[in-house]
Symmetry: C2
Subunit: 612 residues, 2 copies
């Protein structure tokens, strides 16, 4: 099976292939700046310079409104962040803060007056800014932030009530930011209307903090030390009424509050929903970092030898060992799968955010998918980059192998832009809502049938000698059924468990929390598989499709293997079939081993980013 690399890359590059090509070209033409061992200030200053160079490339304009000089290509803007994920991740995050979070908030939550006033300067970096949402005491539960913005006499007065409500971990705050979009509880006429966003200057032209603004540096971090994270406190900081980003809620001169969305809570989550692009970008760059780590590890495993072959002669190449294949190849297969899921997610985002009248349900699905893919992709990145480091032994511990920075920089991905555990719960809660809605729609007869089916299912699981059809382990239809059935079953079981919630909502939910997380995960796994299958279906190169099918088999079977206890416990696999799944993962590792190098080369990571 000889596969054309270009054909593989074309499948991977997908809809934004042209843009990816341009970015790759640009990256290939410049030598990546070295960042290892730099002191904090030097690294920050280097990243800021690189940020300026990005402005010249024009790519930061991708995600903005053409009316103000943007290019209106939402999907392309995410793809450009993904491509930055091949380089120094401090630059990716810094760009993400400036144009994704800060610029994105102005665009999505502001109105014409803000766009007109700020967007050009944001794109050109003349106005470096922060996205000041997280507080020390509220990282996940941002609905209950405690910074206040009180309307009085034509102005908002911003205050940090105590240290627990200081803005924390804020990118661009410690060194470069001149303004911040500050999220605070809006208070007017003595009533609180929930969290809103305000444009607040934090430094003057000379770089000194504005009156009433206190700024502190978060100091050294595990990684991403080219990003200047900081803390912000506000004491009676007064901004004009127009500083309120007023797309979803406004305050009139006389202090009257108005909003197209009545519920404070719903309004806030609608606002949050428009900011989904950040999560999508993090998931994408986690993918790029994973691709880079696996490329480095596979290249080394293909050349490094250790221990003599028992029949004498040369020493054995690392990647010929099953244990080494098992470290790298299932991780590589999953990286492919997640890449296609990411591509689908970016398209979804692009459609939702470029449609004039966005469909509320589509928006909700997008948010759920972005949350779930972000969680799964970033956990996968952390685990795979760790594995790649270990697979490279002592060399992988040296900065020159590039793996230490990759590991340190990506580590925070699992908890920033939403803590993964919280995000998976968000996915599960969405599924439960849908499930209950469907359930509520049923006629009494249909309900009775559903209950009976569930009962049968339970009885069936407990039958010891039942027959399970023994499938071909590479039957895609079986894979799809297996993933869908798992999702349905976990969700139905969870819904059953939570029915008792009325009497002790917290206790019931809490004791089912492992099932909640599993439900979110099973759902995302199915979406990822569907995306992989769709990508293969769209591939016209026969040899490439054939290879991708094997990679997809490995993705599925490694996933089933890792979760086979569940399949066994729920009567979806017999012990014999489960053992067969394990054996088949080994067989696929063997089969794919000769293709390991082409599979990583197809990512087409610019060569400069693959040597120290």
């Amino acid at each position: 099976m000889q596969v054309d690399l270009g054909a593989l890359t074309a499948v991977l590059d997908g809809r934004w292939a042209e843009l990816r090509g341009q970015l790759r070209h640009r990256m290939s033409a410049t030598k990546p700046a070295h960042s290892t061992g730099l002191d904090t200030e030097t690294h920050r200053s280097q990243v800021f310079d690189q940020l300026r160079e990005l402005v010249d490339s024009g790519h930061p304009r991708l995600g903005f409104d053409p009316e103000y000089g943007g290019l209106g290509d939402i999907g392309g803007s995410v793809v450009s962040f993904e491509m930055l994920g091949y380089g120094d991740l401090s630059l990716m995050v810094k760009a993400g803060v400036q144009w994704g979070l800060f610029g994105g908030a102005v665009q999505m939550l502001g109105t014409e007056r803000h766009h007109e006033k700020y967007l050009r300067d944001i794109m050109s970096l003349d106005l470096p800014g922060c996205f000041a949402m997280t507080e020390t005491g509220h990282g996940s539960d941002v609905q209950h932030l405690r910074t206040t913005a009180t309307y009085t006499d034509g102005s908002f007065v911003i205050n940090t009530p105590d240290d627990d409500a200081r803005k924390d971990y804020i990118g661009n705050a410690a060194r470069d930011g001149r303004a911040a979009v500050v999220f605070a509880q809006l208070i007017t006429g003595g009533r609180q209307y929930g969290v809103h966003a305000f444009m607040v200057p934090i430094r003057d032209e000379s770089g000194r903090p504005m009156p009433g603004v206190r700024i502190e540096d978060c100091g050294r971090k595990a990684g991403l030390n080219g990003v200047d994270n900081g803390r912000l406190w506000f004491t009676d900081v007064t901004v004009p009424r127009a500083a309120l980003l007023n797309r979803y809620g406004d305050v009139a001169e006389d202090g009257t509050y108005t909003s197209p969305i009545e519920s404070d809570s719903r309004r806030f989550f609608t606002m949050l929903g428009t900011l989904v692009r950040g999560r999508v970008s993090v998931a994408g760059s986690a993918g790029s970092a994973t691709q880079r780590a696996l490329t480095l590890a596979v290249r080394r495993a293909e050349t490094r030898r250790q221990f003599q072959h028992p029949s004498g002669g040369t020493e054995v190449v690392l990647l010929d060992y099953l244990a080494h294949q098992r470290k790298l190849l299932p991780a590589l297969a999953t990286t492919y799968a997640l890449h296609f899921a990411q591509e689908e997610l970016v398209e979804m985002l692009h459609e939702v955010q470029t449609t004039a009248q966005p469909d509320e349900r589509a928006q909700r699905l997008l948010e759920s998918r972005a949350a779930g893919i972000k969680a799964v992709a970033t956990w996968h990145a952390t685990a795979s980059i760790q594995t790649a480091r270990e697979a490279c032994g002592g060399f992988g511990y040296l900065a020159e192998s590039l793996l230490p920075d990759l590991k340190a920089d990506t580590d925070v991905f699992t908890t920033f832009e939403g803590d993964n555990t919280v995000l998976l719960q968000l996915v599960a809660k969405g599924l439960l809502t849908d499930y209950r809605d469907n359930f509520a729609d049923l006629s009494p007869l249909a309900t009775a049938r559903l209950v009976a089916e569930q009962l049968l299912d339970t009885v069936w699981e407990r039958l010891p000698a039942r027959k399970i059809v023994s499938p071909e382990p590479r039957d895609r239809k079986w894979h799809l059924d297996l993933f869908e059935d798992r999702e349905q079953h976990v969700l139905a079981g969870l819904a059953r468990r939570l029915r008792a919630a009325a009497s002790d909502p917290f206790g019931t939910f809490n004791s089912a929390q492992d099932h909640v997380l599993r439900a979110g995960r099973a759902h995302i796994d199915r979406l990822v598989l569907n995306a992989f299958v769709a990508a293969i279906e769209g591939c016209t190169d026969v040899a490439a499709a054939e290879l991708l099918n094997r990679v997809c088999d490995l993705y599925v079977l490694a996933n089933v293997e890792a979760d086979r206890a569940w399949f066994l416990e729920h009567g979806r696999l017999t012990p014999a079939m489960a053992k067969k799944v394990v054996a088949e993962v080994n067989a696929l590792c063997r089969e794919l081993r000769p293709h390991a190098r082409p599979l990583v080369d197809a990512f087409a990571i610019p060569e400069q980013y693959l040597s120290g």
Copy 2:
């Protein structure tokens, strides 16, 4: 259940409690030096100063022969490395290189002339040295190192044949080392006798490399940047005949080679076996680092709140969430289990190395156990410290949380002092040898019976409707049987698979490599459980023993849960029992949650090492 902290600490402190107390006292009396964000040279110089202070404490003398000023307390010397594991791990590793690896090699592989000449200066740090074994091309397969030491005219000439044979990742080499114990193929009279160790000066008094010695800095690493790792090349470096550390092999003036051990290979592995202390020390300090990370994470999880309780009022403490308990408590239980296994390992080491006539079998068991515990403990460290970081969210990413350094510094533990994957195979190979020996000893009748039993076992596994006795999930007898049965069964299965090896030794072994690793793992898990049980049996405080029994239950059931696919596939658990195991892990998390703080406080880590 009110548990006395002192009683818990006493159980943990074990045989070397007094020494631990002294070290704790010393550590409590000094403020730990800050190392985050230091440039390489500053950090290295700080660690070297700390090393000098250690000399004054007298603890480096613990492991050495009293005849030369040592204290002759082998176990104590490992315990002192463990205690260093609570602080800057660069210091622990640097001390380990100087006194454990370098000094240990001189003591264990040298004879009186070397002891007399070097040991005092090694203890006093007047002779800083390196342990120069690893080469770029040979990290795991050190039997095939390619540096040569050729005997000619009363001297050995040391040579590095090519770049692949340079000494690499050598601690103390880049900055401080004045001498190195260099491992090289000994050649005399035209014949090669395998790898031997030579004392080679690498720098003169003024710190310049000796003639023929080339030294290069390995540069920045993911962590441990206070340790000066470097590379060494030798070109016709001449050392006197007496530079050979000649306990296991010697060369006479006329070039005649003699050794008490005839086989080159057996001799080399005997030499390696005496150096086991390094692995034991790494396992121990991995344990200390894990304890520290979990202490930090549990403390935070006990105070930090997130999301309101559905019944209103205050927000929920993180550790009250099942998902958070599941992150930290099984990891904590495993940390306890591994601590007791480590304590047993240290005692074993102490007995073997302080006995005048060491028993060969005891030595072999020690090596196997050291390899296995090192692998399991360091993987556990990497996973738990990662979990602790994630459990602390964005804060865990800041240097001030102390977790970034813990994570970065311990990461290499899984691959240095023996790559974990290679080490677990070593364990399995030892088990297979024992298994074959036992099998060979059997009479034909007994052999037939064994084969019949295995066959019955297989048939039994395949019987769909067989009865498995449903045990009490907290029945310790059941736990012990389960772990032992798993070990036996995996090993028997592996032996069966490998029987075909004659025709294609590499292919057969390689395709069973996942079983090989599983066999090593199952064996170590049983030893760890046994050690935990023995420690509880030795605990006279009723409440402490009661609590430790719950912790042991959680260790066992979390281990079974993680591996329950295997138990299901092999008919050791029914699906209903497997689900019960999962539910019981949840129940134990709930029960142990109020004890989380006492359980980490019992580690009695000096308070200075728990705040940034």
